[in-house]
Structures are given as structure tokens and as C-alpha cells.
Amino acid sequence: MRWRSSLFLILTPLLTFAEQMPTINMTQGVTKVSRDIYDLHMTIFLICCVIGVIVFGAILYSIIHHRKSKGAVAADFHENATLEFAWTLIPFLILIVMAVPATRVLVSMRDASKPDVNIKVVGYQWKWQYEYLDQGISFFSSLATPLDQIHNKIKKNKDYLLDVDKPLVVPIHKKIRFLVTSNDVIHSWWMPAFGIKRDAIPGYIHEAWAVIEQPGMYYGRCAELCGADHGFMPVVVKAVTEVEYKKWIKSQHEAKKQSAAASNKKMTQDELMAEGKKAYDAHCASCHKATGEGMPPVFPALKNGLIVVGPADAQIKLVLNGVKGTAMQAFGAQLDDVTLAAIITYERNAWGNDNIGKKYKKMIQPSDIKAARSEGK
């Protein structure tokens, strides 16, 4: 038994070292598809290595042995049809060998039939919306990292730029079908652990699917350049057992009821401003900036902005419905009454706006939003 313990002694530091090494290879993931992809990746990589050894070996041999400075005399040959045909045909055969498994895996990947769970994934600048088509649950998932970490004002967490406010929750061992589309520009929903990357394209709905084998938190990100905050829209999936999944579904239905009740409550100015700043930084600051200065002419300034210091109704309507043909989204569908009231109150009072346009209403209650919504209908 002694050899075992000594082996252990040698291996432990090696393993610790390996754990601290930065990742240099593709993940094997937690689905059959992602493992198939990994195997294809390694196979083609090894084939390339073998060809590389042969080609680079020949070059190296030439460099060492066929140097003029070593007295090499140039041979006279400059053509050999047999050789040319050989190095046309052999690579061709290697490619066929490679194409067969690649085709097999690809065909299996594209079969999204008979799903157990259907989730619509919608890309927005710059967040994801997840809609459980069979359960009537829908929510937005956006970056959880505070702006102060991004701007190096406070220490960065371990999950810097990885974490979201609300992850997608799915059951393991079920076939989950993702229906991916976009509300504005092209995004790409990428979850390396599932071997899924699907472009989210306005006007298209494309399928992808996964059967997840292990519970856990899985991290991905948007892979297609989608504007300023492309780097700040991570994807997080929490895979749980079926029992936990059912419990989670139930809790979501309850939360929905509570949020509807909250629309009737009266909030104080301080509550609204505190909640408003938080929500503004998360949903508005990437275009209109934390300072309210925006990025004119594309993203207007809100500091002393005409609409923000003008009549409240106009601003509420604009935030609820968005501005067609611009990046200003219809936030009515994304945020609840409390959050919207808080954001609008914050915008009407922050950055010195409280001193301009004093004749207009400065504090907006959730009930105002609720009223505006029903008026819109």
C-alpha cells in the first residue's frame, strides 16, 4: 500500500497545479452533444498535429541539412507528377475520414423533436428574456456585476461579468428546447457547457436543444457583437432536479401575484430614489450613462433632458412604449410597475433635474404606471 500513498504525495501538488492553470481547452460540457463536439475537436486537432509534425519536420530537416553554408549543392528536380497526385489524394482521403463523424454529430444535433420543456429565448440590447411557453412564466435576465466593479472603483468578485440577476432555471434529464430570437439587433445565445450557440436574429426563431446530465450553475455569454454592452450580457443557467424545478415554477407564480399587489402600494420619495438608482444603473445606464449625460446624438442626455423635466405623462408613455426605430425599448413589457415608477422618479430628480421644470410632477407612484398601462390598452 505504500506505493499508493507515495503516488498520492506526488500527484496532489501536480493536480493542485493543474487546477490553478488557466483553462486552455474547450469544455467537455454536460450534454451528449457537447461531449461529441469535444471529441470531434480533439480528433481534428490531433490530425492537424500529425500533419504538422510531418510538414514542419520536413522543413526543419531541410533547414538543417540543405544549407548552402554547410556545402549543400542544389538538386535539379522540379516536378514529380506522382508526388503531386499523392499529396492531392491523401489529404482528400483524410478529409473524408473526418467528414463522416462530423456529419453524424451534426445531424443528431439538429433533431429538436419531442421536447419536454419549451423555452423562448429573446435577445435584447443588452439582456436576455426567458419565456417558459408551457408555464406562462417570463422574465428578464441581466448582468449582476455592479458598475463600480467594471469601473475599477471596488474589488471585482469572483463571478465578475459572469453572474446575472435572475438565471434561467431548467430541469436535468429532460429534453429542453430553446427557441431563440431577438427583439432588436442580432445576438447569439451561447452556452458552452451544452454545446449550444444560436444566433438570435430579429424575424427568425431558431431551435436548439439540450439534455443536461448534471445539476449545477452553467455560464455562457452573448457571442455576436450587438452594440456597446455586448460584453456585458452573460447567460446563466441553473440546472436542478425535477422536484426542485417544480418547486421553482410554483414560487414564480406566487411572485407574480405579489408583484401585482405591489402596484397599489404608496412609496416614499427615498424608497423610490434608492430603488430607482439601482434599477437605472442596471437597465438605463449603458446608453444614458450613470451621469445622465447619454451619448448624443444616438443616446440623448437625460440630465436636463426635455422629456425628463417636462410633463410626467409623456415620459411614462415613452418609457412604457419605447421609440420605434431607435434603441429605446418598450420597457412596459420588461419591468414591473414599482421598478418603472422608481426609475422615472429617479430620472426626474437626479443630476439636478429636480430644480428644472418644477411645475411638473416629480414623484411617480407605481399606481401612476398602472393607470398609464390600462389607459394604453
Binding site: 483553462t23 481547452n25 475537436h41 492537424c48 520536413a58 444560436r198 430579429p202 455562457g220 446624438p297
Partner: protein
């Protein structure tokens, strides 16, 4: 042939440039002058595009936003790509064509000299248009050099229109340049120089010129449709109006993939000239080299959708484009094998052009390998839009296209200037460049496989180490190019005079001329046996 040279000498002393000073360059129709202007323009723009890249790398040195805003970062990636593709590699290759094609086929000048002047002088105008976007109000183009709709149409900043017109002008310039090259090669070859006796560099440019004529109008179509969508109420790429954003990508990559070969084929040509000279052997498999180049060009028209595997194109299309893409490895392999075959049992001399050429073969092949990996559709789902792709195309474009140009400068500069550069300085430039470029781009393979997407200004902590290495490498690479500039300036000013042949066992018509060649050459065509 030497008679022809003597003859042209007789006329030469009253056949110098017609104007002096700036007017000489503005009005010149001389292929050598125009070639020089193209090359200097490209060299200056290499530093401009490089500066954009260094802004990107500086921002990515550490996690967090330190130097620029995400929007400015996107402007940098866009401008870096556009400048490097349209204002560095393409003009430099055209400059080489202008200098070398008439000299190599025994023509007195390009066939359409005034068109030639105009093709060059459009470039600074295009540069002024697109460069101004960084200085006017509002963001410059900020959607990547691939400017996918609708990010560049509905959501694009006002400056996008400047980019659209700049691309029109750049397209005009390269189409006119290509027409000129094709006409020159078909009509002005010296008697006896049949097509299958042409130097490979001339062959690769002939094929490249056809590619340019075929695809630049497609790009012009794409940007015109963008302009219509932006201002005239059409909805080519607008899903809400019955249009199709994916169609933009099809059109763009129908241009974009042949464009990649436009950038690399002339470099193949340069390498095919240099390796035989410094191996003291003829090129191995000349005919197969020509056929392979033509095959690559033809195949380049049927692989475009491999840039779009994740857009949800149908399974049958995915399979088709996977197979055609894999097929490109065959003719590309033939080229590499033939270069190795040329070196095999030669008498190799490692002078600076050969150093760059050998590095080209090895490093370009590495880029080819990652290209082959990217062709496997299921694996591409994981590679697509990550730093693995960034590593791949930088390996084929930096030690590929850019090294091709540098090889050409080291090979032909003594001919153009009549002066030899310091080999010691050239060796320093070579080693610094090779080491720093690998330091910059090799870690990007790891970053991509580990999951870092491209075009992001900030990243999760797990990517920190390799990004820091890449940034250090990039700054080293940038500084190393100052050695190159110094080498060129010092050679032209005070290099040692060189012989007409310049290199031992150099071959081809250009080496029969004096170094530097007189202002007008081959006024009486040489005869090729």
C-alpha cells in the same frame, strides 16, 4: 535581353518625371511612382491600423474598463479591421503589382496609366471620409468591420453613411486597379512569355484581380442596400418590413470570403518567387501551383456560409458548406507541399527574404490548421465568434498576408532603390516580429477555447493571464515595426549600392535591369526564350 535594356537607356535621360515636387506624384502615370505611393500609403496606414489595435489590446490588458468606453472600443475594432483590410493589405499588394508586374513580364508600364493614377488617388479621399468619423460628433462606425444589419442600419450611428461612401470609393479604386492589372497581363507580355511561363507572382495577381472584379461590386451592392434601408424607406435587411437580416450576411460573405483570398493569394505569389531564389532551385511543381491557385479562387465562391454556421441555415446547407470548406484544404495543402518540395535538397541561404518566407510557410500553415478545425460545423458552434477565430484569421493575415508583403519588400527593395539594406537590422526586425506576433496571437487560441468571445472590451477574471500576455506581445510587435521603417529609410538614403542581379541565383526579367531600374524600362520589349 541586355540589348533591350541598353536601348531604353538611350531615351532615358530626357524621359524622367514630367513634373517636380508634389506635382510629380499627383500627376504621375508611371507604374514605379504609383507603386511607391501605394506602398508608402500602406506603410503609414499599417501604423494607423496598428494604433487602433493597440488601443484594443491596452483596454484588454486587465479586466475592467480602464482606457476607453465600450462604444469607443467597438469603433476601434471596426476601424482596425477596415483599415487593415482595405488600406494596408490591399494597397500594399496593389503597390507590389504596380512595381513588379511590368518588370516581370517585360512591359513598359501598366496598360492604363491614367486609370492607374486615379486608382491610387481615390484612396486618400476614402481615408479622409472614414477617418473623419473619429473626429465628428457622435460615434464613428461601431459595429465591427463586418457591419451586420440591423446593428449597422436601424441602429447604426449617423457616421455609418461616411463608411458606406468610403467603401464605395475603396471598391472603385481596387476594381480599376484590377482591370488595369488584367489588361496589362493579357496585352503587354514580352514576346515569348506565354501564360505558362509567367512568374507565379504574376499568375496569383491575375487570379486575384478577377476575384476583385467579381466581388467588390457585391460589397458595393450590400452597402447601397444599407444606405437605402437607412434613408429611403426600403427594408432589405429589416425583418419588420419583410426583409431579412441574414440576407445581409449572405451578401457580405459572398464578398467576404473571396476577399480573404484576395488578401492572401498575392502573398502566395511572393513566397513562390522567394523560396526558389534562396533554395537555388526552380519552383517545384509550377503547373500544380498555378492550378492550385485557380482552384482556391474558384472554391472561394462556394464556401461563404461557413461564416454563418450559427445563424440557423438549413442542415443541407451546413453540410454543403462544411464539405466545400474542407475541400479548400486540398489546394492549399498542395501549395505548402510544393514550397517544401522546392526547399528539399536545395542549397538554402537564409538571407532576410528567405527568413520571412520560411516563417510564412510555417505560421500560415498553423492558421490553415485552425481553419480546418473551424470547418467542422459542430465544433464551429463552440469556436464561432470567439478568440479562437481571432487567432485563426490573424495567423493567416499577419504571418500570412503581411509577411508576404514584408518578404516582397526585403526581396525587391534593393532592386527598387538600387541599395542593399543592413542584414543585421533586417534579422533583428525578423526575430522581434516573429517572437512578438506569436506572443500576441498564440494565447488567443486558448482564450477562445476557454470561452472568451471576440469584440468585448472587458472580460471575466479567468481570461486575465493570456490577455495580459497578448497585450505585451502586441506592443512589442508594434514597436518592432519601427525597426522596419528605419531600415527602409536608412536603405533608401544610404544603403550600399547593389548589382542588377542583387541575389545569387535570382531569376526573371526584373533582375536583367539595372538597380535601380531607370524611370522607363522595357520600352523595347525583351524576348523570352
Amino acid at each position: 535581353m541586355s540589348d533591350a535594356v541598353m536601348d531604353s537607356h538611350d531615351h532615358d535621360h530626357h524621359h524622367g518625371p514630367a513634373h517636380k515636387g508634389f506635382k510629380r506624384w499627383l500627376f504621375t502615370t508611371n507604374h514605379k511612382d504609383i507603386g511607391t505611393m501605394y506602398l508608402i500609403f500602406a506603410l503609414v496606414m499599417l501604423f494607423v491600423g496598428g494604433a487602433f489595435a493597440l488601443v484594443i489590446r491596452a483596454e484588454l490588458f486587465m479586466p475592467g474598463l480602464q482606457i476607453v468606453s465600450p462604444d469607443y472600443f467597438n469603433q476601434m475594432t471596426t476601424m482596425h479591421g477596415l483599415v487593415m483590410v482595405f488600406m494596408v493589405i490591399m494597397p500594399a499588394m496593389t503597390g507590389l503589382a504596380n512595381w513588379q508586374i511590368p518588370l516581370m513580364i517585360g512591359a513598359p508600364d501598366m496598360a492604363l496609366p491614367r486609370l492607374n493614377n486615379w486608382s491610387f488617388w481615390i484612396l486618400p479621399i476614402a481615408l479622409a471620409l472614414i477617418g473623419s468619423t473619429l473626429f465628428i460628433d457622435g460615434p464613428g462606425p461601431n459595429f465591427g468591420w463586418t457591419f451586420y444589419a440591423p446593428l449597422s442600419t436601424t441602429y447604426g450611428p449617423p457616421s455609418t453613411d461616411y463608411m458606406i461612401f468610403a467603401i464605395h470609393l475603396l471598391g472603385l479604386s481596387s476594381i480599376m486597379g484590377s482591370i488595369n492589372i488584367i489588361v496589362t497581363i493579357f496585352n503587354l507580355r514580352a514576346p515569348g512569355m506565354t501564360l505558362m511561363k509567367m512568374p507565379i507572382f504574376v499568375w496569383t495577381w491575375l487570379i486575384t484581380a478577377f476575384l476583385i472584379i467579381a466581388v467588390m461590386p457585391v460589397l458595393a451592392g450590400a452597402v447601397t442596400m444599407m444606405l437605402m434601408d437607412r434613408h429611403f424607406g426600403t427594408a432589405f435587411f429589416e425583418a419588420g418590413g419583410g426583409g431579412d437580416p441574414v440576407m445581409f450576411q449572405h451578401i457580405f460573405w459572398f464578398f467576404g470570403h473571396p476577399e480573404v483570398y484576395i488578401l492572401i493569394l498575392p502573398a502566395f505569389g511572393v513566397i513562390s518567387e522567394v523560396i526558389p531564389t534562396f533554395s537555388s532551385k526552380k519552383i517545384f511543381g509550377y503547373r500544380f501551383m498555378v492550378y492550385a491557385t485557380a482552384s482556391i479562387a474558384i472554391l472561394s465562391f462556394v464556401v461563404w456560409a461557413h461564416h454563418m454556421f450559427t445563424t440557423g441555415i438549413p442542415l443541407a446547407a451546413e453540410l454543403f458548406f462544411m464539405y466545400t470548406t474542407m475541400l479548400i484544404a486540398v489546394p492549399t495543402g498542395i501549395k505548402v507541399f510544393n514550397w517544401v518540395g522546392t526547399m528539399w535538397r536545395g542549397a538554402l541561404r537564409f538571407e532576410p527574404p528567405m527568413l520571412f518566407a520560411v516563417a510564412f510557410v510555417i505560421l500560415f500553415t498553423i492558421g490553415g490548421f485552425s481553419g480546418l478545425m473551424l470547418s467542422i460545423v459542430p465544433a464551429d458552434y463552440q469556436y464561432q465568434d470567439t478568440y479562437f477565430v481571432v487567432a485563426h484569421f490573424h495567423y493567416v493575415l499577419v504571418p500570412g498576408a503581411l509577411f508576404g508583403i514584408m518578404t516582397a519588400v526585403y526581396y525587391w527593395l534593393p532592386k527598387w532603390s538600387g541599395k542593399m539594406y543592413s542584414h543585421k537590422l533586417a534579422n533583428w526586425h525578423f526575430w522581434l516580429t516573429v517572437i512578438s506576433l506569436n506572443l500576441t496571437f498564440f494565447p488567443m487560441h486558448f482564450l477562445g477555447l476557454a470561452g472568451m468571445p471576440r469584440r468585448i472590451p472587458d472580460y471575466a477574471l479567468q481570461f486575465t493571464n493570456f490577455n495580459a500576455v497578448a497585450t505585451v506581445g502586441a506592443f512589442m510587435f508594434g514597436l518592432s515595426q519601427l525597426v522596419f521603417v528605419w531600415l527602409i529609410i536608412s536603405t533608401v538614403r544610404s544603403g550600399k549600392p547593389t548589382t542588377p542581379e542583387v541575389w545569387e541565383s535570382s531569376h526573371g526579367l526584373e533582375w536583367t535591369l539595372p538597380s535601380p531600374p531607370p524611370y522607363h524600362t522595357f520600352e523595347t520589349p525583351p524576348h523570352v526564350e
